[in-house]
């Protein structure tokens, strides 16, 4: 009896040892493939980061927006529609540029709707967001069937990344980094600047202070003369314009086509990235990178198979599990992080001006 238990314990130790070794090897593997992985991660993280920034701007001013998914989808569709309708007449470049402008405009417009519903009408913010998601699904599906499918015309084209001249690309050390950077499309590149700019704006400017004041204690903000409604309108509209940019990325920079419901929950993963990043732009970007990594793992495992046991294990995991990984990870991270991070105090609470009951 005793001997068997000892043998069992030894087996257990062995198993634990194997698992630990595999985790260690996975870490080493990830570091080794990082140069290959990084562009993919940035690419996959772009829409998540923009969506998460939209969430940060909304919630920092006290407005909950779960309609990011729908806003992305709607902007993605109209960006595609613009490129699709115009690329034969005004050429690919201008039509794609116009597509991005349209996407941002659509995002801002839907932001205006959300702001009106949540700030002025004081409708329930979660239901308003739900409405946005269903409406986006319906409107894009409707127009897709009505306009794009019967036309039988080709796609809208994809934004081609800018290629650096060889003299710069061949620079030691700096060259590969710059090439990697410019290999990203313009939207993916711009995300890095937007993140830094927003971080500075939110914590170093008067506008940022007002935003946070309105989200933490609107009554106090009102007392010192900040227009709560105006500030919230601004933030929601600007944030949703960023979600619109994420939509443009999905159709014009990433895939070059539109499918019904193609956002696939990205708007909600973005919200998880926002919570993970504790409602700061840089943190939200970090969260987006994390979820991007989870998605990229499934891609890179098939391209660069690691050697030894680790390779056998990683290869034996079905592709569907890799595809589900970001969603499962979102749940785990939310469950682990949420209790320890504090949302803006007035998040989700409509503000009623004194005497306006």
């Amino acid at each position: 009896m005793g001997r068997r238990r000892a043998a069992g314990a030894a087996d257990l130790m062995d198993a634990v040892g194997t698992v630990l070794r595999l985790i260690w090897e996975l870490g080493v593997y990830l570091v080794l493939v990082l140069p290959d992985l990084l562009p993919i991660i940035l690419f996959l993280a772009t829409p998540l980061a923009l969506g998460a920034l939209c969430g940060v701007l909304n919630e920092r001013s006290g407005v909950v927006n779960i309609g990011i998914e729908g806003i992305m989808l709607m902007a993605a569709f109209f960006a595609y529609l613009t490129g699709f309708a115009l690329h034969n007449t005004i050429g690919s470049g201008p039509s794609l540029a116009l597509g991005i402008v349209v996407a941002v405009f659509v995002g801002a417009l839907l932001g205006l709707v959300h702001a009106w519903l949540t700030v002025s009408v004081r409708a329930d913010q979660i239901i308003a967001g739900t409405m946005m998601n269903i409406a986006a699904f319906g409107v894009t599906g409707y127009l897709n069937r009505l306009v794009i499918t019967p036309s039988g015309l080709g796609g809208a084209g994809v934004i081609v990344p800018f290629h650096l001249p060889d003299s710069i690309a061949s620079l030691p050390f700096l060259g590969p980094v710059l090439v990697m950077f410019f290999d990203q499309g313009p939207i993916a590149m711009s995300v890095l600047f937007i993140v830094i700019a927003l971080q500075l704006a939110l914590f170093r400017t008067k506008w940022g202070l007002r935003t946070r004041a309105v989200g933490e204690h609107p009554k106090a903000a009102d007392t010192v003369g900040i227009d709560v409604y105006r500030q919230r309108y601004q933030n929601v509209i600007f944030g949703c314009a960023l979600a619109g940019l994420a939509g443009a990325f999905l159709t014009l920079e990433s895939t070059g086509s539109f499918q019904n419901g193609m956002t696939n929950g990205r708007g909600f993963i973005a919200l998880a990235a926002m919570i993970f990043g504790r409602w700061t732009p840089i943190g939200a970007f970090g969260g987006a990178l994390l979820f991007g990594t989870a998605t990229a793992l499934g891609v890179v495992v098939n391209v660069r198979v690691p050697e030894g046991d680790l390779g056998t294990v990683l290869k034996s995991i079905p592709t569907y599990w890799y595809a589900a990984l970001p969603y499962l990870m979102t749940i785990v991270i939310l469950a682990g992080v949420v209790g320890r991070s504090t949302p803006p105090a007035a998040d989700g609470v409509p503000y009623v001006k004194e005497g306006k009951g």
Partner: protein, 380 residues
């Protein structure tokens, strides 16, 4: 006579906003149809909405088959609507009906295929229980996480929806694929199919759905658990002070909600589809939210709202064939209905309604627990 009038007034108080919201949604959707007709080959057609709505109505109620189709489409929506509505009562927003529906349908399909040759009296309940348990388990996860960690169910249930689609596709491909078919699917359900009661397709799930409406009503209004669910939904803090254990109630409600959504999948699987294959779409998810809101999360209201949306789903294909108006117009109408319910101020202004009740008061709890179960701010 005066009693009759007071009943009428009460009904109007409860039903006026939903009914007017539907009316307004159809008016706005008509504008959408007319404006978008400009971009089609046939060009501007001002009367197209009337034609479309006429064929929608004809498809849903114009024939015996139409009415049966409406009821068949309504049955899963009744279960789904009850699932979302029960969640609302406890201040929870279950957007995960789509995933729980799929898990329920999958479990029923797998167990149903296993029991295909056993007598129906054994096979049908066996497959149903399996599906119900599957849905309940899938509802338990977000419920428990919300209760214990504060992870908001709006995000976790959506993530579970996406994960369910992928993992069930994997399961059908690699675990339970039935031999002898050219595409991945589960085996025939044989005797596990729900008995057909009337015509060609009116199956047992429909009376079952109606019975469940009254069962849920009984649970909410006549039992201690129901009272606790409603208390947690109206004021979680008060419930905690009263010693009700919101952790238990939250987990239980979400599990029950998942169970109801799972049964929606079960009856669709055993009564209509017959086998699980990847790509089964579940418009039931969004529809159930609209149904619960429209029914003000009241079981009887949900019954009527589900029949209405069942009629939309049953009539839409005929509308698309006869008038080329895409069936997605139903999703647009649905979003508009929710818009006018959420912003009932619009409805009140347009129709000058007074004294109507707010749609679902517990919704405030859903929003207040966003982002980590922060204590609900007291409205000042």
């Amino acid at each position: 006579m005066s009693r009759l009038r007071s009943v009428a007034r009460q009904t109007w108080q409860v039903a006026s906003i939903p009914l007017l919201a539907i009316l307004l949604a159809f008016v706005v959707a008509a504008v959408v149809i007319v404006v978008s007709s400009v971009f089609t080959r046939t060009g501007f057609e001002p009367l197209l909405p009337l034609a479309a709505y006429a064929s929608l109505l004809a498809g849903a109620f114009g024939s015996g088959t139409g009415i049966v189709n409406t009821l068949v489409a309504a049955a899963p929506l009744i279960f789904g609507g009850l699932a979302v509505g029960l969640g609302f009562k406890a201040g929870l927003f279950n957007i995960g009906v789509a995933g729980q529906f799929l898990v329920g349908a999958f479990a029923a399909a797998v167990v149903g295929a296993r029991l295909a040759d056993t007598p129906a009296a054994l096979a049908v309940p066996g497959a149903m229980v399996a599906g119900a348990l599957g849905g309940a388990a899938f509802g338990f996860i977000p419920g428990f996480l919300k209760a214990r960690t504060g992870a908001h169910e709006v995000v976790t249930t959506i993530m579970l929806n996406n994960a369910a689609v992928l993992l069930l596709t994997w399961a059908v491909n690699d675990l339970v694929r039935a031999p002898g078919f050219s595409f991945p699917r589960t085996g025939d359900i044989g005797n596990s199919a729900l008995p057909v009661l009337f015509g060609r397709s009116l199956h047992l799930g429909i009376p079952l759905a109606v019975l469940t409406v009254f069962a849920v009503r009984w649970l909410l209004e006549r039992t201690t658990v129901g009272f606790e669910i409603r208390t947690v939904g109206q004021n979680p803090n008060a419930a905690r002070y009263a010693g009700m254990g919101p952790i238990f109630i939250t987990t239980l409600t979400m599990t029950l909600s998942g169970l109801l959504a799972g049964v929606a999948g079960v009856i669709q699987m055993l009564g209509v589809i017959g086998f699980y294959a990847p790509g089964i779409t579940a418009s039931v998810g969004f529809d159930s939210i609209a149904v619960a809101l429209l029914g003000r999360s009241n079981p009887i209201g949900i019954l009527f709202a589900a029949i209405l949306f069942g009629a939309f789903r049953a009539g839409a294909p005929l509308m698309q064939i006869e008038t080329s108006v895409p069936i997605e117009i139903i999703d647009i109408i649905q979003a508009l209905v929710i818009l006018f319910l959420a912003a009932d101020l619009i409805v009140r202004r347009v129709f000058r309604v007074r004294g109507a009740k707010p749609i679902i008061p517990e919704l405030a709890t859903v929003t207040q627990t966003w982002a980590g179960g922060a204590p609900p701010a007291q409205p000042t």
